[in-house]
C-alpha cells in the first residue's frame, strides 16, 4: 500500500504557532482518512514542521476505497404495481436507484411487501478523496492570527502559501489550495540550498532529500541537535554551562531549519548590572542563552542559535554582529539603571499620581494607598494570631511597590516590574525585608512559580490582588467565559496558592473582609474564588473532582485546612470500609431528602428513649462517640485518624440499614430516626461531605 505525503510551503510561520498547527494538520489528515476508510485502525503517521513548511507522512494508505453494496427500500408493492404493470412510483424508484424495474426485488416487512433495490456504491480513489476533501481540512487549521494576501481575498491563512507537494506513493495528488496545485516540487534552506525547487521522489525519501538541502524537518531532531550543540559549544568555556531554558529552546527550534550554535562574549564590566536585567535582555530581546559558572553565577558569554551552518569564515562575522547588538542593548540598560537611580523610589511615590491603574479606579497612587491600608489590617490580624511579622516593613513595601512603574528600566523591560523595584530598593539601602517583599510581589505569576519568600511578601501579594479583584468586580468587570482582560483569574489563583502554601494564619474571608466589598460583590467574589479553589485542588494538588467537591462542601475558608482534609480523604478513599461508609452517607442523604419532600423535616436532636431497635441504639452510641473523638482529632488536624474513626462505623451503619426501617408509620419513631440520621451526617461531615464521593465502579 502506498505512503502519503503532504507538504505545505509557507512564508515564515510565527514560531509560537507551529507546534499546534503541525499537530492539527496531522489530526485532520488522519481523521479524514479514517472517515473515508482509507487507512487501518492503527496507522503509522508522522508530522513535521519548520518555519517554512508543515508536513505529514502517513504510511500504508489504501489507494482505493472499498465498493459498498447497499440495499434501499422503495415504495410498497401494492402502490408500485397496478394490474401487474409498474406504476410511476416503481419507475421513479428504479431510476433513482440506477437500475431497471426488472432488477428490483420484493422484500417482506412487518408493514407488508415493499420494493427494494441493490445498488453498488463505487469507492472513490484516494487521490479523488484527497483532491476533494484535503483543501477543506487545510483551510480549517486554526491560527491565532490570520491574513489575506491574494486579490479578491479568497482565503485567509497564517502567511502566504508558496507551494504544495502531495504524493501518494510515487504519484502526484493534485490537491489545490490558495491558488496552488500540488506537485512534487519543494524547496530547501533559503541560503544553504540553491534556491531552486527540487523534486521529491517518494514520501519515503522526503526527509532525507530535505536534509540534503539543509532542512531538518523533524522538530524533535532539531531540538536535540540544538541541545547537543549548546552543550558542545559551551565546553569552550572552562567550568561553565548554559542556563537551561526550555521555552527558549522551543522558540529557537521553531525559528530554524538548519540550526547551529555560536558562542559570543561581552565585557565582564556589564556583570555589575543585575543579573535579572542581563538575562532578560539576552533571553527576551535577543533569544540568547545565558552562560553560568558552576555556582550558577552569570558568566560574560552568550549563545545564539543560528539558522545557518557555521564555518570558520562566517562565524567571526556573525559573532561580531551579535556582540555589537548585545553591547548596544546592555549600554541602554546601564544608562537606564544609572539614570533611574538619580530619583530614589521614595521620591517616585508622588509620580504615581500620573500613572493610571484603571480609569474608574484612578491612579496607582490611589491603588498604593488602598493596598497600604489593607496590608496594615492584615498584618495586625496575623500578629494577633501570633504570626511573626515586621508590620512597618510591609507598609513601607506597599507604599513603594508600584514606584518602579515610573522607571525607565521598567518602561523598557515591562516583564521585570516588581523585580526592578526590589533591586532598586536594595541598592538604595532599604531593609532586605522591604526590598524582598517588593521584588516578590508578583509571585506566583503562574502555577509553576513559588510564593513570595517572606510572610511580608505574601501579605503584600495578597493585599494587592484582593484589592484589584474586589474593585474590578464592583465595577462589573469580572471575567466572563474566555474573556479576562485584567487577568483576575490569575490574580485569584495566586491568592489561593499563597493562602494554601504559606504559614500565614489568614483565611480567605479574612482578606475579603479587609477589602470590604458590598454584600453583593462579596458573594460574587466568593463564588469566583470557589472556582479558583476547585481549580487549584484539581490542577495543582491533583485531587479527584469528587474529593474536591466533598472537601469543599465542608468549608472553603481556611485553605490550608481544606488541602489537608482533601489529601486525607484521598489517602483513605480506596479502602473498602470508607467506600461503604460513603455509600451509606449517600443513602442517609437520600432518605432525608425524600422525607423532606414529603414534609418530614428532620431535627438533629435524638430522643434516646424513642430508640427501639438495638441496631439504632448502637448507631446512636457509636456515632456520638465517633463525633467526640473526631472533634479532638480535628483540632490536631489529624484527619487521617479521624477518617479511620469514620470508616470504623461501618458495622453499626450497615447493621442499622439491615434491621431498621426509617420511614416508620409511627410519626414520633420516624421523626426520631430521621433526627438520628441527620445528626450523624452533621457530626461526621466536618471533614468532607462523603456523600459526594463516587463509590460505584
Amino acid at each position: 500500500m502506498p505512503d502519503f505525503l503532504l507538504e505545505i510551503g509557507l512564508e515564515e510561520v510565527p514560531a509560537r504557532m507551529l507546534a499546534s498547527a503541525e499537530a492539527e494538520l496531522l489530526k485532520r489528515t488522519l481523521a479524514l482518512l479514517m472517515r473515508e476508510q482509507l487507512i487501518g485502525a492503527e496507522p503509522a503517521a508522522h508530522s513535521y514542521s519548520t518555519p517554512r513548511r508543515l508536513a505529514v507522512i502517513i504510511r500504508d494508505v489504501l489507494a482505493q476505497q472499498p465498493d459498498i453494496t447497499e440495499e434501499t427500500t422503495g415504495p410498497a408493492v401494492k402502490i408500485a404495481f397496478k394490474d401487474g404493470a409498474p406504476t410511476p412510483a416503481a419507475e421513479a424508484f428504479a431510476r433513482k436507484s440506477g437500475v431497471a424495474v426488472s432488477d428490483l426485488k420484493t422484500i417482506s416487512t412487518p408493514k407488508g411487501d415493499y420494493l427494494a433495490a441493490t445498488t453498488l456504491k463505487r469507492g472513490r480513489s484516494a487521490a479523488e478523496v484527497f483532491a476533494a476533501e484535503l483543501p477543506k481540512e487545510i483551510a480549517a487549521i486554526y491560527w491565532a492570527k490570520n491574513m489575506y494576501w491574494r486579490p479578491g481575498k479568497p482565503e485567509r491563512f497564517v502567511r502566504p502559501v508558496l507551494w504544495l507537494a502531495c504524493l501518494l506513493g510515487e504519484e502526484i495528488v493534485p490537491v489545490t489550495f490558495a491558488g496552488k496545485t500540488a506537485g512534487r516540487a519543494t524547496y530547501g534552506h533559503r541560503v544553504l540550498s540553491t534556491g531552486d525547487a527540487f523534486e521529491i521522489q517518494t514520501p519515503d525519501s522526503y526527509l532525507a532529500q530535505l536534509e540534503g538541502e539543509y532542512v531538518l524537518a523533524d522538530v524533535e531532531l532539531r531540538r536535540q541537535k540544538i541541545r547537543k550543540a549548546l552543550d558542545k559549544v559551551t565546553r569552550a568555556v572552562p567550568n561553565a554551562r548554559w542556563r537551561e531554558d526550555e521555552a527558549l529552546v522551543d522558540a529557537v527550534t521553531h525559528l530554524t531549519e538548519w540550526p547551529d550554535v555560536l558562542l559570543g562574549n561581552f565585557e565582564p564590566a556589564y556583570l555589575e548590572l543585575p543579573e535579572e536585567v542581563l538575562v532578560t535582555v539576552m533571553r527576551d530581546h535577543q533569544k540568547y542563552f545565558a552562560v553560568e559558572d558552576v555556582n550558577g553565577k552569570l558568566a560574560p558569554h552568550f549563545l545564539t542559535v543560528t539558522n545557518i551552518a557555521l564555518t570558520d569564515e562566517n562565524a567571526p562575522i556573525i559573532r561580531q554582529g551579535n556582540e555589537r547588538v548585545l553591547r548596544a542593548r546592555f549600554n541602554d540598560a546601564r544608562f537606564f539603571w544609572e539614570f533611574d537611580q538619580r530619583t530614589p523610589l521614595a521620591e517616585r511615590v508622588k509620580l504615581l499620581d500620573n500613572v493610571t491603574f484603571q480609569k474608574d479606579l484612578g491612579s496607582y497612587a490611589k491603588k498604593s494607598e488602598r493596598v497600604r491600608s489593607l496590608v496594615g489590617v492584615l498584618a495586625a490580624l496575623a500578629i494577633s494570631r501570633d504570626a511573626l511579622l515586621d508590620a512597618p516593613a510591609i507598609e513601607a513595601a506597599a507604599t513603594l511597590a508600584k514606584t518602579d512603574l515610573t522607571t525607565e528600566l521598567v518602561k523598557e523591560f515591562t516583564e521585570l516590574q516588581g523585580i526592578i523595584g526590589g533591586l532598586y530598593a536594595r541598592s538604595q539601602g532599604l531593609p532586605a525585608t522591604v526590598a524582598d517583599a517588593i521584588y516578590d510581589q508578583y509571585l506566583p505569576a503562574s502555577a509553576g512559580d513559588a510564593i513570595p519568600r517572606s510572610a511580608e511578601g505574601c501579605i503584600l501579594g495578597l493585599a494587592d490582588r484582593i484589592d484589584t479583584i474586589v474593585n474590578m468586580f464592583a465595577l462589573g468587570m469580572e471575567p466572563t467565559g474566555s474573556k479576562d482582560p485584567f487577568a483576575l483569574r490569575r490574580a485569584a489563583n495566586a491568592v489561593v496558592k499563597i493562602l494554601a502554601e504559606s504559614t500565614l494564619p489568614l483565611t480567605l474571608s479574612d482578606i475579603l473582609t479587609a477589602a470590604a466589598p458590598t454584600p453583593e460583590v462579596n458573594s460574587k467574589v466568593k463564588a469566583f474564588f470557589n472556582e479558583r479553589i476547585d481549580f487549584y485542588l484539581r490542577e495543582a494538588r491533583g485531587q479527584a473532582y469528587d474529593v474536591v467537591k466533598a472537601a469543599m462542601a465542608a468549608g472553603t475558608d481556611d485553605l490550608r485546612d481544606l488541602v489537608a482534609r482533601a489529601e486525607a480523604v484521598t489517602a483513605v478513599r480506596g479502602s473498602e470500609d470508607f467506600l461503604a461508609v460513603s455509600a451509606a452517607f449517600k443513602r442517609m442523604k437520600n432518605i432525608l431528602t425524600q422525607a423532606h419532600a414529603k414534609g418530614d423535616i428532620a431535627s438533629s436532636v435524638v430522643d434516646h428513649d424513642l430508640l427501639l431497635d438495638p441496631a439504632e441504639k448502637l448507631l446512636a452510641v457509636t456515632a456520638s462517640a465517633a463525633a467526640s473523638a473526631m472533634e479532638e482529632l480535628q483540632k490536631e488536624r489529624n484527619y487521617g485518624e479521624a477518617l479511620r474513626v469514620i470508616a470504623a462505623l461501618r458495622p453499626s451503619i450497615d447493621g442499622f440499614f439491615d434491621k431498621v426501617i426509617v420511614m416508620s408509620p409511627e410519626d414520633d419513631i420516624r421523626a426520631n430516626r430521621l433526627a438520628l440520621l441527620n445528626r450523624t451526617l452533621e457530626d461526621l461531615s466536618r471533614i468532607a461531605d462523603f456523600s459526594e464521593i463516587v463509590t460505584a465502579g
Partner: protein, 318 residues
C-alpha cells in the same frame, strides 16, 4: 579586537540609499521624494497611508526622515535618534516571493547571505490612531533588526483589497551594521571620490539631534502647542464636514469631486499627530488626557482615510 569587516568596502550612508533606491526602481518602483511634512514613520506619508487604500495597484519607494520627539537623546546616546531615516517600499499587491526579492536587495547592498544569520521573526504592526494593522516580520540579521516587513490588512479602519506589502529599512541601523560601528554618529555618510575625505553622520546631523532634542524636551511652548493642535484640528474637521457635502453620488460636478482637498485635510491631521508627539515629549499630556487626545487624532486620520476612499471610488466611477 580588529573588525572582521573590511570597512573601506562597506557602502557609505548615501551609497546605501542610492543602491536601495536603484534596486527598487529596477524592480518597477516609482521613486518618490520624502514627504515634506513631519511624520513619525514612512507609513504615515500619504504615499503609503492613502495609496494602500482602494483597488489601484502601485509600486513606490522613497526615503522618509521620521521624527519621534520623545526618542531624542540630545545626540548623546549612540543608538537612539530624534530623527532617523526609513527607506519605505510599498508593493500593491505584493508580488509572489516578495521575501526573495527583499533578500536580493540585501545582496545588492553588499550583504553576502551565506556569511550571515538571517531570520524572519513574527512582528505584527499596528497603528491604532490610523485604524491600521498588518502582519509580518522583523528581519533579524546577526541579531540586529534591520527591516520591518508587513502585509497591510486594514487601514483607516477599512479592509484592504488588494493588500499591500510594506518593506521598511532602518537605514541608520543597516549602515551601522555594514560599517561595523558602535555609534550611529560614526557612520560614514559620504566619501569624497577625489580626496577620499569622509564626512560622518555626526558631522552632518549631530547638531539637529542636539537642538531638536532640546526643543522637544525643554523649549517647545506648551500653550502654543495646544493652540496649534486645536487650530489644525478645527480646520481638518471643517474639511471633513465639507467632504460629506461634496463627495456624494448626487454631486454632478465631477471637477469639484476631483479637486476636493482630501490631501490637505490629511496634512492637517498629520500636523495634529506631530504636535501631539511634541506635547508628549514635553510631558504635557497626563495619562488621563492621553487616551482622549489620541481618540481625537484617530477621528481625523480615519475620517480622512474614509473620504479618500470615497473620493477614489467616485472619481473612478465617473
Amino acid at each position: 579586537m580588529p573588525s572582521v569587516v573590511e570597512k573601506k568596502k562597506a557602502l557609505t550612508f548615501q551609497e546605501l540609499l542610492f543602491t536601495l533606491q536603484r534596486f527598487w526602481a529596477e524592480h518597477g518602483c516609482v521613486l518618490q521624494q520624502p514627504y515634506d511634512l513631519e511624520v513619525g514613520a514612512g507609513t504615515m506619508s500619504p504615499d503609503t497611508f492613502l495609496r494602500v487604500l482602494g483597488p489601484k495597484p502601485i509600486s513606490i519607494a522613497y526615503a522618509q526622515p521620521s521624527r519621534r520627539p520623545a526618542d531624542g537623546r540630545y545626540g548623546e546616546n549612540p543608538n537612539r535618534l530624534f530623527r532617523h531615516t526609513q527607506l519605505q517600499v510599498i508593493l500593491k499587491p505584493p508580488p509572489e516571493r516578495v521575501q526573495e526579492l527583499y533578500l536580493e536587495s540585501l545582496v545588492a547592498i553588499g550583504i553576502n547571505l551565506a556569511q550571515h544569520d538571517i531570520k524572519f521573526e513574527e512582528d505584527n504592526w499596528e497603528w491604532p490612531v490610523g485604524g491600521a494593522w498588518g502582519v509580518g516580520w522583523q528581519v533579524m540579521l546577526d541579531g540586529q533588526e534591520i527591516t520591518q516587513f508587513t502585509y497591510f490588512q486594514q487601514c483607516g479602519g477599512m479592509d484592504l483589497d488588494p493588500i499591500s506589502g510594506e518593506i521598511t529599512y532602518g537605514l541608520e541601523r543597516i549602515a551601522q551594521f555594514l560599517q561595523d560601528l558602535d555609534s550611529i554618529y560614526d557612520i560614514v555618510w559620504s566619501r569624497n571620490p577625489v580626496t577620499g575625505a569622509e564626512l560622518t553622520y555626526g558631522q552632518v546631523r549631530l547638531h539637529e539631534e542636539q537642538q531638536f532634542s532640546a526643543y522637544s524636551f525643554d523649549y517647545a511652548d506648551v500653550p502654543s502647542l495646544w493652540k496649534h493642535l486645536e487650530l489644525y484640528e478645527t480646520e481638518c474637521l471643517a474639511l471633513l464636514a465639507r467632504a460629506r457635502e461634496v463627495l456624494v453620488e448626487e454631486n454632478t460636478d465631477p471637477l469639484q469631486v476631483l479637486r476636493f482637498p482630501t490631501l490637505g485635510a490629511y496634512e492637517l491631521a498629520l500636523k495634529c499627530s506631530h504636535t501631539f508627539n511634541l506635547l508628549d515629549a514635553r510631558g504635557a499630556i497626563s495619562v488621563t488626557e492621553r487616551v482622549g487626545v489620541m481618540a481625537r487624532i484617530r477621528n481625523l486620520i480615519v475620517g480622512v482615510a474614509k473620504i479618500y476612499a470615497e473620493q477614489g471610488r467616485l472619481t473612478t466611477a465617473a
